[in-house]
């Protein structure tokens, strides 16, 4: 397979085009995904290529729209539903959580809801408290859902195609700041398995688990730490539900130190689960230091750009925290 450099949003678009080409049951739904091309221009020209019958603009009706997608998935279609901002999924929790996630179980396995929800998430765009949240932990808490969070263009495409092949509902948290980021992406169809983390940088001194934009900040921090002789292993979490316990535990057993970096609010966030999962495992015995979490501030995302910046982990903070952890200062 040839590999080219394309952006995260191009990779997602390419995955959608492959799906639309190969499966007549696939449709796209969402607000302004047609002519407008989506708030983040991810669907861009798909309406020109596939027409409004396959690329459906929905009214501003998140609960109903998600519910229509659920009902369609239950009866033969494979909808990819874009929330314009993942914050608006707060309007559709009932359909995502009470319906999509539970239908197979409530119906004793007699039904399947192969729907994909695309969730543009995260802060850093100056859009303030209602347009900048990182709510993935909520969905991690819901059996019946799968939740992924691609950090690279390659995974953005591979995870979307994996989600479409999955018979159960999958939520994809796409980080807004990554849409324009470029990276190598194979042509054609391939899937990135849901539930598998990836060692993005091997190292011996500390394990840093991170996803989405935080992966890149963690990698940057790791490079800086390398200059001072600290060798961090950086794991790209990729999948929030299910979590790849084995990859993380094996790493902690090697490094003896764990730090989790995530953008969501620190308490009750993704890092809490990963920390707790390690603390109750046999890897506990390998821990040489407390498990550090670097998460978002206990505040809504503020508008002022300096406040917004300090509200979530940045590279320098990751670097400093990892250094203290390795030096035994925590």
């Amino acid at each position: 397979m040839t590999t080219r450099e394309i952006s995260y949003s191009e990779a997602i678009r390419e995955a959608m085009a492959i799906a639309l080409d190969s499966d007549p049951a696939v449709i796209l739904m969402g607000e302004d995904i047609g002519t407008y091309g989506g708030a983040f221009q991810v669907t861009l020209d798909l309406i020109d290529r596939y027409g409004p019958e396959r690329v459906m603009d929905t009214p501003i009706s998140e609960l109903g729209g998600a519910g229509v997608a659920v009902g369609a998935a239950l009866t033969g279609l494979k909808p990819i539903f874009e929330f314009q901002f993942s914050d608006f999924a707060a309007l559709a929790m009932e359909q995502i959580v009470n319906q999509a996630a539970k239908l197979r179980y409530m119906l004793g396995g007699e039904a399947s809801v192969p729907v994909v929800f695309r969730m543009p998430a995260g802060s850093g765009t100056g859009a303030a408290a209602q347009h900048s949240q990182s709510l993935e932990a909520w969905f991690g808490h819901v059996p019946g859902l799968k939740v992924v969070q691609p950090s690279t263009p390659e995974d953005a495409k591979g995870l979307l195609l994996a989600a479409l092949a999955d018979p159960d509902p999958v939520l994809i948290f796409e980080h807004k700041l990554l849409y324009k980021m470029k990276g190598p992406v194979p042509e054609g169809a391939y899937t990135t398995p849901i539930g598998k983390a990836r060692i993005a940088r091997a190292g011996r001194d500390v394990t840093i688990v991170a996803g989405a934009i935080m992966l890149h900040r963690a990698l940057e921090a790791a490079e800086k730490l390398a200059a001072e002789g600290i060798d961090a292993e950086v794991i790209d979490l990729r999948s929030i539900r299910p979590i790849d316990h084995e990859t993380i535990l094996a790493s902690v057993r090697r490094t003896g130190r764990l730090m989790v970096v995530y953008e969501g609010v620190k308490s009750y966030g993704v890092g809490a689960e990963i920390s707790a999962m390690v603390a109750e495992s046999d890897a506990f015995d390998y821990l040489e230091a407390p498990i550090l979490r670097l998460g978002g501030a206990e505040a809504p995302i503020p508008y002022n750009p300096d406040l917004e910046r300090v509200a979530v982990p940045q590279t320098d903070g990751i670097e400093a925290a990892a250094r203290s952890l390795v030096r035994g200062e925590v």
């Binding site: 007549p24 049951a25 449709i27 019958e53 929905t58 009214p59 009706s61 609960l63 109903g64 729209g65 998600a66 519910g67 229509v68 997608a69 659920v70 009902g71 369609a72 998935a73 239950l74 009866t75 033969g76 279609l77 009932e94 359909q95 009470n98 319906q99 239908l103 197979r104 179980y105 409530m106 119906l107 004793g108 396995g109 007699e110 039904a111 399947s112 059996p143 019946g144 799968k146 999955d166 018979p167 159960d168």
Partner: protein, 332 residues
């Protein structure tokens, strides 16, 4: 015999066999729910349940023209819809008894009773939860070029949920083959529709979606059947959705915990006098579709089927507790 044109719609429209089968299913609904009630009192069923006794014409007349390819979405008060759509009462009882042979393998119970094979996408514990889902099912039919229609049942209480509004609007703008059937039994739990809903008739709200809206006597089999027949024709012709309001009444309390403080004994008795099954039965006899003896036989057969269903459920095995996480995800 009366001039054929003056006979009720259902008598004109459906074959005698269909009408007899409709009566049979209505009795089956009634006896099923009575059987469920008794089983509950005997401790064979736990949790709660919502009985539709008194509303059987609405369920059956709405479903009479549907095939297994057509879909329905149902509500917490969904036993009638399930039987009207063709489910087996044995598997239903098995579900209520929490057995592995139940429609949901004991995971769902009364509030999630479903029979996907006959097109019943399920009762729903969330008021209004099934309305967008029905629109989605209609979208599938349209996009995949299937002729199915979807009937979406909901109560008067549900019409104040945002989901109702969003779903009806989308069904209308996309002209989807879905029929919204509001079973207005005057109360959402204890709350009168007259208090909770700003308009006198829920069908008045059809105007907000530029779709036809009619209010009919929900205890009159023929009136319901005619309204639904027209709506199905419209849906299959690609002309879009309709809203039908069936005025009816539940004889029992809202659920097992109801003290009935919000309505009078007289009101309940008035409505018991309007029994939709007796009315339909009398109509069939009047128009020579069956005689008293045949009607009695149908009634007895329903009671018998319910007895057998309960027996089947009792004999059935319970799920294994080690399977608690089975069916959360597709099996690989």
């Amino acid at each position: 015999m009366a001039d054929p044109d003056n006979r009720p719609f259902a008598i004109r429209q459906y074959a005698p066999d269909q009408l007899r089968e409709a009566l049979r299913r209505m009795y089956l609904i009634r006896r099923f729910e009575e059987g469920a009630e008794q089983s509950y009192m005997r401790g064979l069923i736990h949790g709660t349940m919502h009985l539709s006794i008194g509303q059987e014409a609405s369920a059956m007349a709405s479903c009479i023209e549907l095939s297994d390819q057509d879909k329905i979405t149902s509500t917490h008060r969904g036993h009638g819809h399930c039987i009207a759509k063709g489910a087996d009462v044995g598997r239903m009882f098995a579900e209520f008894f929490g057995k592995e042979t139940g429609y949901c393998h004991g995971r769902g119970g009364s509030m999630h009773i479903a029979d996907v094979k006959t097109g019943n996408l399920g009762a729903n514990g969330i008021v209004g939860g099934g309305i967008p889902i029905a629109v989605g099912a209609a979208l599938s039919a349209k996009k995949l070029g299937r002729p199915d229609v979807t009937i979406c049942f909901f109560g008067d209480g549900a019409n104040n949920e945002g989901a109702f509004h969003e779903a009806l609007n989308m069904a209308a703008i996309w002209k989807l083959p879905v029929i919204f059937i509001c079973e207005n039994n005057k109360y959402g739990m204890s709350t009168p529709a007259a208090y909770a809903t700003a308009v006198p008739n829920i069908a008045d709200r059809a105007a907000a979606y530029a779709m036809p809206g009619v209010t009919v006597d929900g205890n009159d089999f023929s009136a319901v059947a005619e309204a639904v027949h027209n709506a199905i024709a419209r849906a299959r012709a690609g002309e879009g959705p309709s809203l039908i309001e069936n005025l009816t009444y539940r004889w029992r309390g809202h659920s097992k915990s109801d003290r009935n403080r919000y309505r009078t004994k007289e009101e309940i008795e008035d409505w018991i006098a309007k029994d939709p099954i007796l009315r339909f039965r009398a109509e069939l006899i009047t128009h020579g579709i069956l005689d008293e003896a045949e009607a009695g036989a149908i009634e007895a057969a329903a009671a018998e089927a319910v007895e057998q269903g309960i027996e089947f459920a009792k004999q059935s095995p319970a799920p294994s507790v080690t399977d608690v996480t089975r069916y959360v995800y597709a099996e690989a």
